[in-house]
Subunit: 236 residues, 2 copies
């Protein structure tokens, strides 16, 4: 039987991961070895190994003889992101549709159900994490070791970008997120039907929707304004 009590090392690894994904640890934040090892109850040696691992996965940046930092989100991030994401995710969903096992499809459905639940009664944090989990599973389904590294890297910043460009009280934003959930259902259907083309097309749609959410954030009043008019409401 599998070990029921996770090691402090795993706990630390998971905690840092989710903290970074949810922006509780902001991009560029310093990660002090001493304080972290104290916080998670392990010595600096295993903590450093956790940081090395997180660095390899793209969560943090290491600098020689300096502290570790949460990996940055620069101004070029968005452009690079939306260049790479549709291609990679298209390929992932195509392969997922071709290779998914029934057990994996079941897991994806369960996750989607949870996603719908936190969509109604969860925090922005919960939504980002559950959405992240949904996409991670599609990555497992694809099962191509060469695509996964970039896909995982994309998922990290996808979560962080979503957390950044999200205004919970905005009605248009709420509709947008609802559409995202609907797309998840369509993705599941396409995978279950083994329809690779459909799945790939849905991947593109999904990123277009994500891009649209950012536009909603930047231009909250929409585009129905006289040219040059100031934005209507900038709440946060």
């Amino acid at each position: 039987m599998p070990d029921s009590t996770p090691s402090p090392k795993d706990t630390c690894y998971q905690a840092l991961k989710t903290a970074i994904l949810t922006l509780e640890l902001q991009p560029g934040a310093d990660l002090d070895e001493a304080s972290l090892s104290a916080e998670f109850g392990l010595s600096r040696t295993p903590l450093r190994e956790v940081l090395r691992r997180l660095a390899g996965e793209g969560y943090v940046d290491l600098r020689q003889n300096r502290g570790a930092r949460v990996s940055e989100m620069s101004h070029t991030t968005l452009r690079d992101f939306f260049l790479a994401a549709p291609m990679i995710y298209g390929a992932i969903l195509r392969l997922a549709a071709e290779n998914a096992t029934p057990a994996q499809i079941e897991k994806l459905k369960t996750t989607q159900a949870r996603f719908r639940k936190v969509l109604q009664q969860g925090s922005a944090r919960d939504r980002a994490l559950m959405n992240n989990r949904f996409h991670e599973i599609t990555g497992e389904m694809a099962g191509n070791v060469y695509l996964l590294p970039s896909f995982q890297r994309l998922l990290i910043d996808h979560a962080r970008i979503s957390m950044t460009f999200y205004r919970p009280r905005d009605e248009a934003m709420a509709r947008n997120v609802g559409e995202a959930a609907d797309q998840h259902d369509q993705i599941i259907a396409a995978i279950e039907a083994g329809d690779a083309d459909k799945a790939a097309a849905l991947a593109i749609d999904h990123w277009n929707l994500s891009r649209h959410r950012i536009e909603l954030f930047v231009m909250p009043g929409g585009l129905d304004l006289p040219l040059g008019a100031p934005p209507r409401a900038v709440t946060a």
Copy 2:
């Protein structure tokens, strides 16, 4: 001024990397911490960090409470590889053509000159490493953090696959490698001209040639044989 003497840690990292790329350390080989730390003159603590880093980059696999191993090449590797490689490399070269700086182009030309040199008088090992360096530079040119992880992962197994499916005495193989070098020149030209479409197309060609080399290896006599006849010459 930059440090002239590399640390034993860096030496160890580089040595393991090249040993894995060139199959001096074969896929699945056990990496014992004690003997490695002795060999490179550092204690187990920094060595373990090197192994963690190599794991993150896809060179080795770590297993809980077991030794590290050189990452495996399974029977599904080739298929997954040739599925992902054209897409990723096409995107990399497209971006390289769009973003390459003059300094980077100069570096690429230098590397290509060295590649041509080892093609004539170097070992198979030297060729694989120099070819690897050539492609790494195109990755730097593209400069997209989301594509690089998968690209680097591809380059590792590209080197290893090349080392596996390479028969130096085979005349057809020699022609094939010569063609690869010519393609490198074309790639440089496309990048220098900023011709993204051309560069992307060349990426596809380059993988097709690589695939062809594998076919040459598996079927050394070619296909001009009566059906069911045994292969003509299987030297190595």
